[in-house]
Amino acid sequence: MDPGPLQIAIMGHPNAGKSSVVATLTENDSIGIGNTPGTTTRSDRYPVTIDGRTLIEFIDTPGFQNPGDLLEWFKVHRDEENVAAAFIRTHESNELYVHDCELLRPVSEGAGIILVIDGSTRIRQKDRDEIELLRLTRRPRMAILNNMTDRENYQSQWDSELRMSFNSVREFNAHRATYAERIDLLNAMKSIEQGWEPRFKLAISAFEEDWDNRIDQTIETIVDLFRTVLEYKVSKRVDPEKVSTRTGEKRVRTQLVKRLEEGIRRFEKSAQQEIRAHFRHNVWNVPPGSLLMEDLFSEQVSHGLGLSKAQLAVAGMAAGGIAGGLLDTTTAGVTLGAFALLGAAGGGVTAWIGGSALTRMDIQRMLGSVRVTVGPVSRDGFLFVLLDRILLYCARAMNWSHGRQGADEDAANRVPEKRLEPAGFAQDLSASQRKSMVRFFAAARKGRDSPAEEAFREILGTTLHELSVGTIDSREGV
């Protein structure tokens, strides 16, 4: 028989960050979080449902309003089998204890306890009262030190105070927790009570598989973005007179490039929205000055992201070398690799000096009119910028905690954003990875399938996984 969902009551003092912890654990930013105390006024249940079956229910409770009274009553009635239920029976008609009864109700029904404590402040009397009264409930319990600031001087005091009364004590910043930290916390929860382990194992495994799935979906989105951008052309039929002079030609080109850029911005935006949906973000905040806020074609973005000229030249040489190598093959090797050499040199030089134009213009003369086409993007440098931007966006989406909506981003003592020099991820790729990418760009530009696409997917997969587990920096704030 199904024993029903495992219930975990998230308890604590008002404004300790209980709702933030639930929102971050369940990746649910629809949970109301405010930085004014008392936002949660009733016990709300947030089930974790896997294939229609609820395994765990996190219960976000209101804060303690009368911890001193509760402790006094609990001490007097400590022999009650279910002291929480007895308290509710006695006090539920008294409106002064409405929140205390509400928060104790899940405990009286057998829920496990997670006490959320603002670990950035010193231990106060009410904290001691709450710790003691929760001990008297005799339910499995864990304490979370939710330090949302840069102050760490009370951590050890809290730790020793809590260890006496709680099965487990963990530090967890609900505003900044990453995927890996979230999974770590869930893993810690499973060990609080032996009976919890199977359900937590299932839930953690579902969270992990779901995460991998999201990464795969993100890879699809990015590959689609590049395929779309690399096949995108803009054309216009014009009067031959209009392109008969250099100035006229330049004017038409400028108009079409503008349209091409608008199209690419649209594709990028749409990919970003998809990525945001993959990681279930409804509430979002990008810091001012972030490269994500700048225009894709702006100077700041092109300087801050992408590859250096030298790196581009090396990657371009690889692509040129391959094209030349194909020519060598057709001559059955008679040319002794001369084409490969020339191709590599050509590719490198083009990348070094010819990389300023975003795209080439094609003029097709027809009877009575001229068709002018720009696109697809021919500047590999821009594609690496686009790659960096979308990876930055992914990093933000993956590591933006769902509980952060309640953070006071203006607070003087908040955990500061890392100050990093504007830089993306492409710089850190190996030369062979960059070469694979250039090969993929070249094939996608021609609408061809290429083995390089698989390599591109692998590079994306590795980067996104490393961002998840924190092996590489998420460049928050860039």
Partner: protein, 564 residues
């Protein structure tokens, strides 16, 4: 019930005995159709992705999820079986017309029809050509050379060529030769592409992009399924060959059975009879053990006796020699025509089955679907059930504690400018002796009062009761009573604190002057910092709700300029 997820423990060994064999060409076509439909849906509305994922997971749990042992996950066999189960589910879920319109069944019927037509064409061609080659006017014997050249040697050459290509299929030289052959094809293809571009230039951009996208998808899919499609289309071709040879044999036997025909050979060159005999004997090599000389093929005398000379009278020929070729002809077609065709048909069928069984479904679209299927559907997006009552604000006379015990002994007397200081224990505990003068100064700044006595509250409920009981016993020489309460303003106000203030009001009287002074988060260097503007405002909201006109709220230390 245990959740059916990737770790499902239910097993069904039968489903795995012959993995992959369930896929047919019709399945592949329907599979692609459903994938395209889903992709279109997602393109039209990205929100459809979630619905599709939900539907696919449900299909998986209904079908394959039951039958798959956990260790098999992410193996090719598991992927094939899972995707097939999904296809079955999608077909079941398709409505009447949609199901009827699925192209897989139509393709199967068309292929069957093509096979039938190929058989009919083979039978017709075989019968016609044989009848023409064996036409006998009763004067000149039928020339067996034509029969062999038309019906046997080309088929033998084709079978040999197929065998050579098969054996050398991986050699580079053959690859280059085939590439050379394909140059012509490429030329045609580029011509078609050029024409197509000109045509596309005239259609609207949306339609053009759609056509290109479809073309791209079709091209990428055809690469994936190339082995399957090659063998699939070879089957009707081989059926044609088999039917052709059967028709040749049946027609030949029928003509032999129902008519008396003379067969011979002729040559303008001076070809020795012995040479022809040797060729015939070599051709008959495969059936010599069962149908020997004189029966399965003509002997030297019969070869010699059946040579046709110009102007020779038919009486000059021995009828037995002229008939001696008949079974040679039948057996030649059987061995060099029918048998290779049957073998190729069997190979085509087996290869098609093998290609179907070997489909890995590792392409991006299939992998994405597979992931959707095997990944448990996780939902933790529940919304809050609604707002509850706000925190309780104690009303006058509202108490939950035992009535205050009257104290008989007075605590002391309070002068005109004197007050009672009540410190919260959290504030008291961080104060050092040297902070005392500053505290007194700050209190004085706000009220001008001198502190005569001090108490602490907040240590326990009983302690609070004791404090209020003590306050009640003070004698105020110059009423109203004056009480300064210093509380920790860095923590949000809670009912318990408000109730203490209310109790204090009860024991000091309705017009007693009570000042609540808040201090902020203490640090090692500053035990009495000011509260922030936000904290003060949070407290003010609650204090205002107490509706006590003689209760003043202040920040003990001055607020920072921006907060003030």
């Amino acid at each position: 019930m245990e959740t059916k997820r990737s770790g499902s423990e239910t097993t069904n060994a039968n489903a795995w005995e012959n993995p992959g064999s369930r896929w047919s060409v019709a399945d592949l076509i329907d599979y692609e159709t459903f994938l395209n439909a889903d992709e279109r849906k997602v393109r039209e509305s990205p929100d459809a992705r979630r619905e599709i994922a939900k539907r696919d997971r449900a299909l998986y749990l209904e079908g394959a999820g039951e039958a798959i042992p956990a260790p098999e996950f992410h193996t090719p066999a598991h992927r094939r079986e899972t995707l097939h189960a999904w296809l079955d589910g999608r077909r079941r879920g398709a409505g009447g017309q949609e199901r009827h319109d699925l192209p897989g069944e139509t393709f199967t019927r068309s292929l069957r029809m093509a096979g039938l037509l190929a058989i009919l064409a083979g039978l017709g061609a075989g019968t016609g050509i044989t009848a023409a080659l064996l036409r006998y006017d009763g004067e000149t014997p039928v020339n067996v050379s034509w029969y062999v050249f038309v019906l046997v040697l080309p088929q033998l050459a084709m079978a040999l060529a197929a065998a050579v290509i098969w054996l050398l299929r991986r050699s580079a030289s053959l690859g280059r030769a085939l590439e050379d052959l394909s140059w012509g094809l490429r030329l045609v293809r580029s011509l078609v592409a050029g024409l197509s571009r000109r045509f596309q230039a005239r259609v609207p951009q949306n339609a053009r992009e759609d056509t290109l996208a479809r073309g791209g998808v079709a091209a990428s899919r055809s690469t994936l399924y190339q082995p399957v499609s090659t063998w699939t289309f070879l089957v009707p071709l081989q059926a044609f060959g088999v039917a052709f040879n059967v028709a040749v044999i049946v027609t030949t036997v029928a003509l032999l059975w129902f008519s008396d025909r003379a067969f011979g050979w002729q040559s303008t060159l001076d070809v020795p009879d012995q040479t022809v005999y040797s060729i015939v004997r070599t051709i008959a090599l495969p059936w010599r053990p069962i149908a020997g000389e004189g029966r399965g093929y003509p002997g030297p005398e019969q070869v010699k006796g059946s040579r046709i000379y110009l102007n020779a009278k038919k009486e000059a020929y021995d009828p037995a020699h002229l008939r001696s070729w008949r079974w040679f002809l039948v057996l030649s077609v059987s061995v060099y025509g029918l048998l290779p065709r049957l073998a190729l048909l069997a190979i085509s069928l087996a290869a098609r089955r093998r290609a179907l069984a070997g489909l890995s479904f590792r392409d991006a679209r299939s992998q994405a679907l597979y992931r959707r299927l095997v990944t448990p559907s996780l939902d933790a997006s529940a919304r809050a059930s609604g707002a509850g009552p706000e925190m309780a604000i104690p009303r006058t006379g509202q108490t939950t504690r035992p009535p205050l015990e009257p104290r008989t002994a007075p605590s002391g007397k309070m002068g005109a400018d004197e007050c009672l200081l009540i410190l919260h224990v959290d504030v008291r505990d961080v104060l050092k002796d040297e902070d005392d003068s500053r505290l007194l100064k700050l209190v004085g700044n706000h009220t001008g009062w001198r502190i005569t006595a001090r108490r602490a509250f907040g240590a326990s409920a009983a302690g609070n009761r004791d404090v209020t009981a003590t306050v009640a016993t003070w004698q105020w020489l110059s009423p109203p009573p004056r009480v300064m309460v210093v509380d920790d303003g860095s923590q949000p106000p809670i009912t318990e604190h408000l109730r203490f203030l209310k109790d204090l009001r009860m024991v000091t009287g309705a017009e007693a002057d009570i000042t609540l002074a808040l201090v902020g988060e203490a640090t090692d260097s500053e035990p009495l910092p000011p509260v922030t503007g936000r904290q003060l405002s949070q407290w003010r909201q609650k204090i205002d709700q107490l509706a006590d006109p003689y209760l003043h709220l202040v920040s003990l230390a001055s607020l920072p300029r921006e907060d003030a």
